[in-house]
Amino acid sequence: MTAPVLKFASEFRDPAAAKVLLAAIARKADEIGATRAKPVHIMEICGGHTHSIFRYGLDKLIHDGVEFIHGPGCPVCVLPMARVDECVEIAETPGVIFTTFGDAMRVPGHRKSLIQAKSAGADIRMVYSPLDALELARRNPGREVVFFGLGFETTTPSTALSIQAAARERLTNFSVFCNHITVPEPIKALLDDPDMRLDGFIGPGHVSMVIGIHPYDFIAADYGKPIVVAGFEPTDLLQSVLMVLTQIAEGRAAVENQYGRVVPEHGNPVSLAAIADVYERRPSFEWRGLGEIDASGLRIRPKYAAFDAEEKFGIGYATGRRNVPELEGCACGSVMIGKLKPTQCPQFGKGCVPEMPLGALMVSSEGACAAYWQYAGAREAAE
């Protein structure tokens, strides 16, 4: 990958609006008494937001008293190593065509990553959509086509609808290895962690496009923290930060929607119905860096068991072969929950770079370490 061109505020599409927002944020931060020594901690949950913050250098442009804490909202980054191992195991089964989003190809497993398994001969194909996997299954009736279902609520409807389609067409050679996870539960886990100090949240807009804004009500009602659901353009993010700070200044905590042009209050009914039909909650699911979190993962309902790769291949949560330890020497867990900055990991830029990631946070542009490496590292070098 070539080095990205650095963008600063002067290159914002709407520099005037950004300037006004940054000034308003500074006034609010001063009003609250936020300083570099005593900053307001705002967690952006979504990896797309993390990417955008680094891309535009918002962390540097914003008032000293506002600190972004990068949350666990990159589905590739939170994928536990054991699940990658299981992907490789399925992919290496004779007769299988294993299909995945490109993002997941380089996530390290204990034995190998999917890309390493592919170069060793496994039939692993990068697809853009689960619909591609469905089409492969139609065209290859003699092969078992497995789709690696991965992601938060934004992508969950796509695999649910694909499984429904496979059932309607009575395909017998299509299954999904389901690793879908949900956003509200890990936020609750972070809020329950006594070591975390979070003052407010920027909520993922595209997740709320599916689930609406009310699944976050508990953040305001039970924990007294503001959350603003945001778009991913830089001015969206700045406006959302201002909305969070305004709530803090006024002593309020509410769920607000900055991204109303895409996010309906109650989400997308067709998507929600498909998810409810196909999936049920697992009692708990393991997150890289966070451990097991109650009710945070989805599995395929028994009525669609014929399309469940865990059932077909006899692997996964049901088998009890769990709790494979994570890599030693990396700080992924602490970086994941915002306790450490990527540069504080001893491996950052040494044993771990985007071309040869050691931890999953270095794999995808939505991972904090990769975003930091791609933009902040280059920026600091340029200064």
């Binding site: 194909r125 591609d132 934004t154 595209h206 599916v210 991913f232 353009e233 995808s364 542009s365």
Partner: protein, 93 residues
């Protein structure tokens, strides 16, 4: 994977399966429109949608589509989505 990309619906290709042809940054790609369909499928032709992993997830206006696309280009995500579509064509070949 999570950001999606704007695309314009140009034709309904398979009404039973709720599939339509979309134009995404000059590239044509068949997408599922179940989540934005409503009652009149043909009414979708000409509409802008936000497409996530092959599924139109939300209707947006043209202005929003243009701004979103520009932001995605800045982030390198637009090219990534187009590359993934091309990779998928290869996987199916």
């Amino acid at each position: 994977m999570c950001l999606g990309i704007p695309g314009k619906i140009i034709a309904i290709t398979d009404a039973a399966r709720l599939m339509a042809m979309a134009e995404v940054s000059g590239v044509r790609r068949e997408v599922n429109v179940a989540c934005v369909a409503g009652n009149d499928l043909e009414a979708l032709v000409g509409a802008w949608t936000l497409i996530h992993v092959g599924f139109a997830m939300s209707l947006i206006d043209e202005d929003e589509a243009a701004r979103t696309l520009e932001a995605l280009r800045d982030l390198g995500e637009a090219q990534e989505a187009l590359d993934q579509m091309a990779a998928a064509d290869e996987a199916l070949a």
